[in-house]
Symmetry: D2
Subunit: 265 residues, 4 copies
Amino acid sequence: MLKGFNYPLTPKGKSTLNPPPPWHYSADFLSIEFWSDAAAVAAVLPAGLDSDRSANGHANALFYDWQFSGSNEEYLDPARYQYREFFILVDALLEGRPVAYCPYIFVDNDAAIGRGWSQGYPKRLGQVFQTRYYAATGKAGPALAPGAKFAGSLTSSGQRLAEGLVTLQEPVKDMSVLQQRPIVNLLHTPRLAAGKQDKPAVHELVENVPRDVKIAQPWIGEGSLTLPVCRGEEVSDLAPVRCGRGIRASLAYIVDDLKTLRDLR
Amino acid sequence: MLKGFNYPLTPKGKSTLNPPPPWHYSADFLSIEFWSDAAAVAAVLPAGLDSDRSANGHANALFYDWQFSGSNEEYLDPARYQYREFFILVDALLEGRPVAYCPYIFVDNDAAIGRGWSQGYPKRLGQVFQTRYYAATGKAGPALAPGAKFAGSLTSSGQRLAEGLVTLQEPVKDMSVLQQRPIVNLLHTPRLAAGKQDKPAVHELVENVPRDVKIAQPWIGEGSLTLPVCRGEEVSDLAPVRCGRGIRASLAYIVDDLKTLRDLR
Amino acid sequence: MLKGFNYPLTPKGKSTLNPPPPWHYSADFLSIEFWSDAAAVAAVLPAGLDSDRSANGHANALFYDWQFSGSNEEYLDPARYQYREFFILVDALLEGRPVAYCPYIFVDNDAAIGRGWSQGYPKRLGQVFQTRYYAATGKAGPALAPGAKFAGSLTSSGQRLAEGLVTLQEPVKDMSVLQQRPIVNLLHTPRLAAGKQDKPAVHELVENVPRDVKIAQPWIGEGSLTLPVCRGEEVSDLAPVRCGRGIRASLAYIVDDLKTLRDLR
Amino acid sequence: MLKGFNYPLTPKGKSTLNPPPPWHYSADFLSIEFWSDAAAVAAVLPAGLDSDRSANGHANALFYDWQFSGSNEEYLDPARYQYREFFILVDALLEGRPVAYCPYIFVDNDAAIGRGWSQGYPKRLGQVFQTRYYAATGKAGPALAPGAKFAGSLTSSGQRLAEGLVTLQEPVKDMSVLQQRPIVNLLHTPRLAAGKQDKPAVHELVENVPRDVKIAQPWIGEGSLTLPVCRGEEVSDLAPVRCGRGIRASLAYIVDDLKTLRDLR
């Protein structure tokens, strides 16, 4: 019997991209609120999701510095399981319920691509960086203090696709500002067989089910984001009309489930 | 309607990892014949494939320097569509028919991961290099001549997983030595939903259907291969007991189909 | 006694970035002729070099896919010694003699940085790609034929700094079109000691002395180049006013000398 | 007048690898004490440094996750100025004075190579990772607590050159355990000119002069380190005979000077 969650499946299950769930995550992140043209947001939604008119193009851009682990201290192999991520979440409605949908996401690690595609995150490879905070500060980085600045950037296939900046104002007091809408993704596995290339093997609306979410050191302030026009890319169609608040915090959670909402085939 | 073959699916279909088939490929490659312990080969085979006892552990290791294109001159964006690959093919039987199965494969590009997973190739990211031949030669590289040497190497997650060497003897005269067994893969898409993690969404034996295969400049000689023992990896379980011939050539073909042989669920 | 040419110097001389000269090189390259604003070219020249008014801002942009070797078959370690390069050469005069000067150059390999800095090439890291030609052709790449297209791109620190295209017209018949001006560089080693930071340890005009130059498969046609404006970069100050011919060829040569023309301190 | 500290020197000084000093640094680091064969340590020392017999092969291996800045918030371009580093410091004597010497060092960034070579650090490119600590903890990473484990790894040119582990025992109470010997390096710039390749342009013993050193969150415990034998590399000649304490902490300092101790030419 071959073992492994994602490819490859092998006799001992050591070579697999990912150990079986539960999957444990910790990260530092930047979150930048912005408003795109509402029609551009509507255009990225899959069947089954509707525009949230009251949201008026509202979205969030997120930069994450992640550490991943299965149940066997995988975080002690950081070359294999540490990674960086950028993604966009746009507001939408699922049968009238407010949700968020991820049209674009980039990571610098193949295990993260494997887990992502298993959750409906449409990951591509990218080079993602964000300014770090260190316990020992000086002029090489920001303190956690009013006016401190944290920047993020994304490059994929050699082009700079996103740049963001968060300027801190104060620690988050009202934790409700950190609440996110539930994330609903398009789980999609194509078929290469001739004659079936428009009949995907999997094509479902799915809801992410993170658990044991912890947030630490949250600060809030102002955000800014640019999504430059690039050749062969369309992320820039969501370019901000205006930006809103910015958040910088640490996060931990566990993933070991996914809920299918609807088969779209 | 969202467009794209692999993730992401977007309004214009420009951001997708891969354009729709047909997919066009050209490459220079090294092929190294070797024999593993027959039990180690048997252990990597999925249900539906049997050991080829007469093969006695026979396998091939391949290093490819690829260029990919869809139908719109994608080769003019080499940062996105050029890539390098290492893989292993082991001899097996499908209901008595000689085939080859790919237990391990590594590429340095996400579009190649996407296409690979659509064909049952269990790709992970790796850094792959092979010695190049140039029309203008000197001591910086081999000529296409007896005694010329071409080396290949694979690193993944920071560990050197394979090293190979081909020493040329003569141009291939009998083109039948270049014939490969049909490649039969395990097409696998896992399910993350709790309670279904051992019930994959897709779990099929599939046969690759390359067409319009062209080979140019083939040379044959001796091959050598090492698959070092590495932490958290099991490729080394297929380490060569002995090595056989080595080939260096150029190749082109087209992929636009995949044949499902058997649903294994 | 410690051994090595570039850092590190070690007991056996194996860990050094580069073996001692002679250094052997082979490559495929694209060369794109262009004209910048003449004042922008004048502005990048070091002391000792004068504007070549008759050149009127003339320059060349070059994409190289290199293989390097010392005297011990280093090309059999392609992960360490293969690399890709982009650079610009602008026309200038040295005491009235036509020469070319390299203001910008990018490679994807540290050994290449080491050799470059020893020759006055101001190398930074970049990701460089160019379309490849394979002996086995199809739609995945160009043939060597009229109308065939080869593209190149450069990314550094996450920003796309250059894109080029060569469209072939015919094989080069008159080899004199391949002749380059001698390359004169600024050899520069800074001093970090307080009070000496404006007194470099080395600051010389040097002339490169390649030998045994061979060119193969040269084709000529049209070139085009863009140098986009990027944050924190000034390569774009040399953006083409117009472009001229494009060349695609293979090259080999040897480097084992450098000629100091003038100490600029 | 061309501007820039390291290459390239340009009209505006924006493209240079590094802004002029002062250079500001912050990092998280792992430090692992070990003892090599004393003869192996003696063999890596340059002229002017003597073996410290009482040290008996004592050395430290260090993994750093750095953020760098000049005076203009360069930390807001993390794709360009954030980097990771591994290095070894061996005990030595300078005219009887206890110092440390750096025979091997690897970073993943070109600006860091440039600054390093200006300080006598013999940097090569490598891929370096260390386990991270996050304010929001779970099973994806260690807490700052007794028994917590932090791992580090180094890969260069595709080979795994070092692996380390620090297991925390307690916060550092006696800050004197964090004191390092002054670092004395070999500042070396080779000459490529024929006939002068054994007459470097610069060949000096230099002493690093960090200032405003701050340390935060220091924990002490046990360290372990392996330096595997690799092809074409000699770091493994310093492989530990035994290991000692391990430290995990954050650090910040400023560099704007370098002291030449002795010209070795």
